[in-house]
């Protein structure tokens, strides 16, 4: 179906459904309940982040997952995409179409240049070259390029901006031919309330398209070439293949994905700053992919979602909420637990994040997807041993 084999097609359908019904799925608890207040994730601002960072991670995975080249400056393309989009808002109009197109194109152009130079080296040298380019972009955005980036204030749309395509009745927020991004429909069912936001759905459609394209790339001759490069570059050249253009293609595609993510971020909120390009942001992209499972199709999306979810939940929890949870305990125990957990919540999110990185790399080097597979294997092996003395089935 759709040029996918049956397994990929199933995966694709699952992603489609998840993306489309996320506003319902992610609100499992009644809105006003304590659990709902803490754990519901089905509100637009957060869901947007899931899908946009999902797109970013999918793109990063095309580079790192397939070729093994670790870019430590990928956030630069995200930032560049955002700047390009906001400039389109400033110059043309709030319509997101030209903004998103330009963000992809501009990020792609930068990726051609940065990739061409960085790919002349491999290993850690490649990582440092990409890091150097990203840091340069970041520093310049804060200094000489302030006319383009508006420095520390951040780039945004002002009343005096040309917006030459803007006509009288147009919305004054980002919109898709009149459908505003922040427009939403609310559905109240009993204690639950679900919000369906236009902006989220635009981003979700892009996620679905991005995911589809990434499956096709993984299964295409190009995907095969890239995996071969990761496996053995020497053999590639002695087979008669020029690895450079393949690598560059992967780099540019992945840069364009990041540009798209940047454009979408701007479409959701037409304001952007250089911190989006800082190297910790690049580090976060790497972690998302690793957490989910590098080189797997669905892993990076899961990783991006999980990190953004935890970030949101953990930084929202405070001592009051904890006391509520532990109310059933004797007071001393309640206090003890709250004191113990306190450093990891609220402002302590980064501590939790750091520990999470370490835990994943130490205990789950293959990421969540591999972890899940291991658990599945454990169950199916138990069944097998019952059935027929654990005859080994060949790995597919």
């Amino acid at each position: 179906m759709l040029g996918l084999n049956s397994r990929d097609f199933k995966l694709f359908i699952i992603v489609c459904i998840m993306a489309l019904v996320a506003p319902v799925l992610l609100n499992p608890f009644p809105t006003e309940s304590a659990l709902g207040q803490s754990f519901n994730a089905g509100y637009p601002a957060l869901m947007q982040r899931f899908v946009i960072f999902g797109i970013l991670a999918i793109g990063f995975n095309i580079l790192f997952g397939l070729t093994g080249f670790l870019s430590f400056g990928h956030a630069a393309f995200l930032g560049i995409g955002s700047y390009a989009a906001v400039w389109m808002f400033k110059l043309l109009s709030y319509n997101v179409v030209p903004a998103i197109i330009l963000s992809v194109v501009v990020a792609g152009l930068f990726a051609v240049v940065i990739g061409y130079v960085s790919l002349r080296r491999s290993g850690i040298y490649f990582s440092i070259l990409t890091l150097a380019f990203a840091q340069m972009a970041y520093q310049l955005a804060y200094s000489v390029l302030t006319p383009l980036t508006n420095g520390e204030t951040g780039l945004q749309v002002y009343n005096g901006d040309p917006q030459i395509l803007m006509s009288a009745g147009d919305p004054t927020v980002p919109h898709f031919f009149g459908i505003t991004m922040n427009g939403q429909t609310q559905l109240d069912l009993g204690g639950w309330s679900f919000t369906f936001q236009n902006g989220y759905y635009l981003a979700a459609i892009f996620l679905i398209a991005s995911f589809y394209l990434s499956i096709r790339i993984f299964r295409s001759p190009m995907g095969l070439m890239l995996r071969a490069i990761k496996s053995n570059q020497t053999r590639m050249s002695y087979v008669g293949l020029n690895t450079k253009p393949y690598m560059l293609a992967a780099f540019v595609i992945s840069g364009m994905y990041a540009g798209l993510a940047g454009g979408l971020l701007a479409a959701m909120d037409p304001l952007t700053g250089a911190e989006r390009m800082f190297w910790t942001a690049s580090g976060e992209i790497v972690v998302m992919s690793i957490l989910g499972g590098v080189g797997t199709l669905i892993g990076p999306v899961l990783g991006a979602g999980l990190i953004k979810y935890l970030e949101n939940i953990v930084s929202k929890i405070n001592d009051g909420i904890l006391h509520n949870w532990f109310a059933f305990m004797p007071d001393w125990m309640d206090n003890l637990f709250v004191t113990l957990i306190h450093p990891f919540i609220g402002k302590g999110w980064h501590l939790t994040l750091g520990l999470l990185f370490m835990a994943v790399v130490i205990f789950l080097p293959g990421g969540l997807v591999q972890g899940g597979q291991k658990i599945m294997d454990m169950f199916s092996r138990n069944k097998n041993t019952d059935a027929k003395d654990g005859a080994k089935t060949p790995a597919e």
């Binding site: 080296r121 850690i124 040298y125 150097a132 340069m136 310049l140 190297w279 750091g354 790399v361 080097p365």
Partner: protein, 343 residues
């Protein structure tokens, strides 16, 4: 000419810090084959050892002095630092004044211990893992260390002055035969440079002239062969990790008066030091030192107003720009060996 020399001097202290951190990174990479993204955190811990010592020496207890009254007419509460009470006023004051240099004595055992724990507890499990995993786990560790420091010391920079004897500037210009006060240079920075030079020399001498150092150097060149000789290289490498941590820690202690420590300085220095290591050539100790000083000095030249007027923004990006140029023209950095870190 004097402006020129001033810029070189200005670059020296930053260059020294880069060189010391890069030296440790290279030792760890060369001996253990591990890319340690937590090395900047070790530098930061050093700086906070200085902060802590200063705090300890200033710990005070309150006494009520009935003979004096404050402006409300109540008996005056006087703070007396414990050190003054225990060792007498003069000694107490001296300890407070000299808390930064004295921290060196504390930081060496502390960092050796931390290095030992880090290597045995975490890093050793990552020798055979891909570099990406090493980067990530140490990156995570760096965040954790930074956050712990933040929890204890807050997010704001903490001023940590040098001993009063080293406050102020030295008129380097008049030494060199220029007019008076043309090149005035903060005394502590000169101390920092001298200190770094001594440490660097000591590390090189240690590697060059002791049997231990020889084995380690041989191990850096070819780990397997040395292993085959039946030499227990692992124990020595653990020690090297401690040594690298101690070097970073000392660099941090002495830098505290130059840049008030805060929980993020580790990361700030780490990224630059990594660029330094790569420019010097992964695994080359002289390369790391050379590149550290070179980039420090280039950075200070790029910060001159004349240069900035010519190429706006150059001061922000010079290090990265040089790194790009060097990596493209000299694939293995200034002094890198073949085959290191290429796959």
């Amino acid at each position: 000419m004097d402006a020129f020399i001033l810029q070189i001097l200005n670059g020296l202290d930053k260059g020294s810090a880069y060189a010391l951190i890069a030296l440790g990174l290279t030792l760890i990479f060369g001996t253990l084959g591990v890319v340690n993204f937590a090395h900047g955190a070790l530098f930061m811990i050093g700086a906070f050892v200085a902060v802590t010592m200063q705090k300890i020496f200033n710990l005070s207890f309150l006494t009520v002095d009935e003979t004096q009254k404050d402006f409300l007419g109540n008996p005056l509460k006087v703070e007396t630092p414990y050190v003054e009470a225990w060792f007498g006023d003069a000694m107490g004051n001296w300890l407070q004044d000299w808390s930064v240099p004295l921290s060196i004595l504390v930081v060496i055992p502390v960092m050796f211990f931390l290095g030992f724990v880090m290597e045995r507890g975490l890093i050793k499990h990552f020798y055979k893992r891909p570099h990406a995993d090493q980067i990530l786990v140490t990156f995570g560790l760096a965040i954790v260390i930074g956050e712990i420091i933040k929890a204890f010391y807050g997010a704001n920079p903490i001023q940590t002055p040098p001993p009063t004897a080293f406050l102020g500037t030295i008129d380097v210009g008049s030494w060199l035969g220029f007019a008076e006060n043309t090149i005035a240079y903060p005394t502590w920075r000169i101390v920092y440079f001298g200190f770094s030079a001594v440490i660097i020399a000591a590390v090189f001498a240690f590697l060059q002239f002791t049997t231990f150092g020889m084995v380690v150097r041989a191990g850096m060149a070819d780990r397997e062969t040395v292993g085959l000789l039946g030499i227990d290289i692992d124990r020595r490498f653990t020690f090297m990790f401690g040594l690298a941590a101690a070097v970073a820690g000392m660099a941090g202690v002495m830098y505290a008066p130059i840049l008030s420590p805060h929980y993020n300085i580790g990361m700030d220095f780490l990224v630059l030091s990594f660029v330094v290591v790569v420019v010097g050539g992964m695994g080359s100790l002289p390369g790391a030192v050379l590149a550290g000083f070179m980039l420090g000095i280039l950075q200070s030249f790029a910060s001159m107003n004349e240069v900035k007027a010519l190429i706006p923004g150059i001061d922000q990006i010079i290090i990265y720009l040089v790194a790009i140029i060097i990596l493209l023209t000299r694939p293995r950095g200034l002094m890198g060996r073949k085959g290191v870190m290429e796959e």
